[in-house]
Symmetry: C2
Subunit: 588 residues, 2 copies
């Protein structure tokens, strides 16, 4: 949202401002001293002074910060750094919610995204995302759309796109901040009931919703939800665009259909690729290994279980009644002890016992991969390449949370150079100086089937790809950089809790276990790539040799003709024979 | 905090667990199918099923998320990803607060950091940071140390290290979660008053402090604060260590003295380098250009001013009474209108007028640089190099917030290869494969005088350095990588509001204005470096030529002797003359 001071000069009012120099001071950014000086001259009484603070004066300034105020000020944490990214983030949050809701309700999603300029403006848009999901119960609408940190997904461990209860309310808040307009929602939960129409907005000081409008309305589907946000934004095709986001989302979600009505009024359809419902994620309990002393203590205070044995058995995964009894015995705790009587010392002992006892790994049937075949199909839809491969790893665990990594690779991409590799390049307005022509690998990242378009270099994926020795797979690589070559690499991380580096969910945090799994998946693809590249080289060498045969055989024929005084047809026959023999002796 | 499942086997209880195979299931991570299978066999009734959700069943699960619960689960956002980084983050948050408090009270800081293992453990530490600051008023202690989003710095625009009201409470929360122990605070605001001793802990469900202990105590300074947190952690020297952090902090804060008592009991002193108080930051009002429609509207509702003219004049920087009147006139609003009567349409109109009117840039005397000279002094204390340079830019503005960038560069560093360049390498347990010997530039980053040790590649600084064409300054550079060479580059960003990419404040967000300023500062250093490198090359070439002279002159002498039949002393004299003449003809 950086304001260009020089740009202000383009405004229509500039000349009048210059005319009335007394009323509006004209000042260039490049002369800050001058600015300070002129202020000092014109109003010396307002010159700032800094007095030493005391404990008392500092105490007087201490106050509570509402979570909405926090995120309004730090809105880049939520993905609202600049108008273009803001528009994408808003679409992404709404689409994530729609896909999650449809999956939970076992509905094959059909989602329509509409972006329309407001009053023909280039920096104000109205975004609508409409789905055929289960709809939202009316009384939940205000909290879901106009309250940060409110939702159903945060308190459960389940593979879903949303997880924090921030996204869509944050998008609504950004719309409110930049245009003053509330979020509009239409939702219907059943064909037997009327639909509800709401206008809600967030009160950032309190982090609570204000309902501006609440009425019944028409809705053309038996069930579903439509959300509309009016916001400052910028629409631009290409890299990191809404178009790219939707194309990638369609790849990772072959069971979903998308219709996209772009700001220019054109409609793009992404039809459903598969009528099969994807893996339906299930919720799991936390694994005891991922729980710290303090958390264990707190869980014991809050459990509904009435004995320690029951608490351990019901509130954690992989603890049977027998294991619970064993753990408690080793911790010198009674199996029938009331959980709320547990002291912090008891918790510490129990924690120690848990972590020195071998427990079964967390269940892993709670996360589902896209699958090796579908990954390659997806890649084929975006790049035309000579070689494709993929690898889906078995689930692993970080901090007690199961996760799974898969990777797919395309080599010899014909359009990869166009697609290129960017990390917010266009947003700085200053593209990197491109002197070299060697094109870097294009990295495409997904987390729980959601494409990640920003902050590539902050991502565990990037770190893992840099750590792989690509030279041994036949690609060039400079230290500290992605490998070079006509390659596109797709990495998907699925987990019941994806650890993102920020609330905007653009990059995966550097957990060592996750980096390790990414490396293993990528290396597997790399090995297959290496074989292909080597084979290609052999073929190429062979072709060159064959070329020699083609070139020199006629000459040999000529020479033999002279030596042996053969006739032309004989020479032809001989050359043909030689060719066949020589070619037979080489197998590719 | 990833748990190593194989590691569990090292626990002393493992063999007994294996003996009682019924009570504790033994399972390797590498066989998840087996795990799922055995579960299915042993307790088929607990097999998870997923039923289609409805709008109603989903509504039943919606609930509020406390900000402490949010950050406890997403603790990597706060810098508590792993035990080693957690210990560093806790020290950093406490030291930041101490430095800020001393500066506000115009006190030259003396800060003592003590890290001691608890009961000789290698993964549990007690960290104490003690300062000679103004102390904290007793009744504020619980909120400051055990409540997230509480503080004095968030609501003001002022250059300070802390800004969010999260840091120290988050460190205390992490300590509580991992060890169950409360935060201990001793503080005294005046030699005439007794000191207070507190034990406080956060109630994460409510985000409110619980006071465990509140008593008077002894304190050996007339004023100051000491905070102690017991936490899971790991202590390791080297890159990204507490030692490195303190060394860099001392460089950026020459007015502060530090004493560091390491876990091995050794004491390290960083004496004060300068008795001059640094620039004392002052608070500013928001600049009108950085304020959006919705914010303007909200500010009008909450102002204490009684007229629109007064509101604009008092709540923003760079709006005088005359400018306020002009802006209101152009917006067709009365100067005496009550601010709380402003409608959103009015706000929109006023916002448009503000942004098309040239206003003076925000005041920039509210931020202070470290300074070109002190930067070079600082560099000299860490690296022994052949060439140093630095550049402090004039203040600029992003989103209405003034900021300033400075850079310093050392070339020909003797220990840079040792120091190397890392971005969380050791934390993954898998260092990048280092095949090449060409060493990359070492990048050292500061924000408001705080060293940033993690997430280098996510930082605007990294992006800017990559965008610079280092080849034109005589360094090697591969596409997408830092330049190579024996170079250390230090970049400092100072602002009334530094936009970090996450709450852990490890990297600066990619605002185009900030990247541009970093590039300009770095390029300025680069140009001077280029001149030096070229001069060095000339000297080197010259040296080689001189070498030739040394080698060949005697032979020429010999040849002349033969031709002209000279005597040996004559030859010597001639050679000497030739040497002087030739050397004179070359100037370096």
């Amino acid at each position: 949202m950086g304001f260009d001071f020089d740009g202000a000069a383009d405004g229509g009012v500039q000349s009048s401002a210059a005319d009335t120099a007394d009323s509006t001071a004209v000042m260039e950014m490049e002369e800050p001293e001058l600015a300070a000086e002129s202020e000092a001259t014109s109003k010396p009484s307002r010159r700032r002074k800094s007095e030493a603070a005391t404990a008392e004066s500092m105490a007087a300034k201490q106050r509570d910060i509402s979570v909405s105020e926090f995120f309004a000020k730090n809105r880049h944490l939520l993905g609202f750094d600049n108008p273009r990214k803001a528009l994408l983030t808003a679409v992404k949050e709404a689409v994530d919610n729609s896909l999650d809701a449809c999956e939970e309700a076992h509905i094959l999603p059909h989602i329509t995204v509409t972006i329309a300029p407001v009053d023909g403006s280039e920096n104000k848009f109205r975004m609508t995302v409409k789905d055929n999901g289960p709809g939202i119960v009316a009384k939940q609408v205000p909290n879901i759309f106009a309250r940060l940190l409110y939702g159903s997904k945060f308190h459960s461990l389940k593979m879903s796109r949303g997880q924090q209860g921030i996204g869509i309310s944050a998008a609504g808040m950004y719309g409110l901040l930049t245009t003053g307009e509330p979020v509009q929602i239409m939702t219907r939960t059943s064909g037997k009931k009327p639909a509800n129409h709401y206008h809600v907005q967030i009160d950032t000081t309190k982090n609570r919703p204000e309902v501006i409008l609440d009425e019944e309305c028409e809705f053309d589907l038996p069930h579903g939800t439509s959300v509309t946000i009016t916001m400052e934004g910028r629409y631009q095709k290409g890299k990191q665009s809404i178009d790219e986001y939707l194309a990638q989302t369609a790849i990772a979600n072959p069971h979903a259909a998308f219709t996209y009505i772009a700001p220019d009024g054109k409609t793009y359809d992404y039809p459903r690729q598969s009528n099969e419902m994807p893996f339906i994620p299930v919720e799991i309990k936390p694994h005891p290994y991922g729980v710290e002393v303090g958390v264990l203590f707190k869980m014991a205070r809050q459990t509904e279980a009435r004995t320690m044995r029951e608490f351990l058995r019901s509130d954690f995964s992989r603890i049977s009644q027998a294991i619970a009894e064993d753990l408690l015995k080793k911790s010198k705790l009674s199996v029938n002890m009331k959980p709320w009587d547990l002291t912090i010392k008891d918790a510490e002992r129990l924690h120690g016992v848990i972590n020195s006892t071998k427990l079964m790994a967390p269940p892993t049937d709670c996360i589902g991969p896209i699958g090796e075949e579908k990954l390659v199909d997806g890649l084929k839809r975006v790049v035309d390449a000579e070689f494709y491969t993929s690898c889906t790893r078995k689930p692993a665990v970080y901090r007690g949370n199961p996760f799974l990594v898969e990777a797919a690779l395309a080599y010899g991409c014909k359009d990869a150079s166009e697609a290129g590799n960017t990390d917010e390049e266009e947003d700085t307005g200053m593209p990197a100086e491109k002197e070299e022509k060697d094109q870097l690998m294009r990295l495409v990242r997904f987390a729980n089937r959601v494409p990640l378009l920003y902050q590539q270099s902050a991502c565990a994926t990037y770190k893992a790809v840099l750590d792989v020795n690509w030279r041994s797979y036949g690609l060039g690589q400079s230290r500290g950089a992605l490998p070079s070559g006509p390659v596109m690499l797709m990495v998907h991380i699925a987990s019941v809790w994806v650890p993102f580096t920020s609330e905007s969910k653009e990059a995966v945090a550097h957990y060592p276990e996750i980096i390790k799994e990414i490396k293993l998946a990528v290396q597997e693809c790399g090995r297959k790539l290496g074989m292909h590249v080597r084979k290609q080289r052999r073929i190429k060498d062979e072709m060159i040799k064959r070329g020699y045969i083609e070139i020199y055989l006629p000459h040999i024929g000529q020479a033999l003709k002279d030596i042996l005084t053969l006739k032309d047809p004989q020479v032809e026959k001989l050359v043909e024979k030689l060719k066949v023999t020589l070619e037979k002796s080489r197998t590719v």
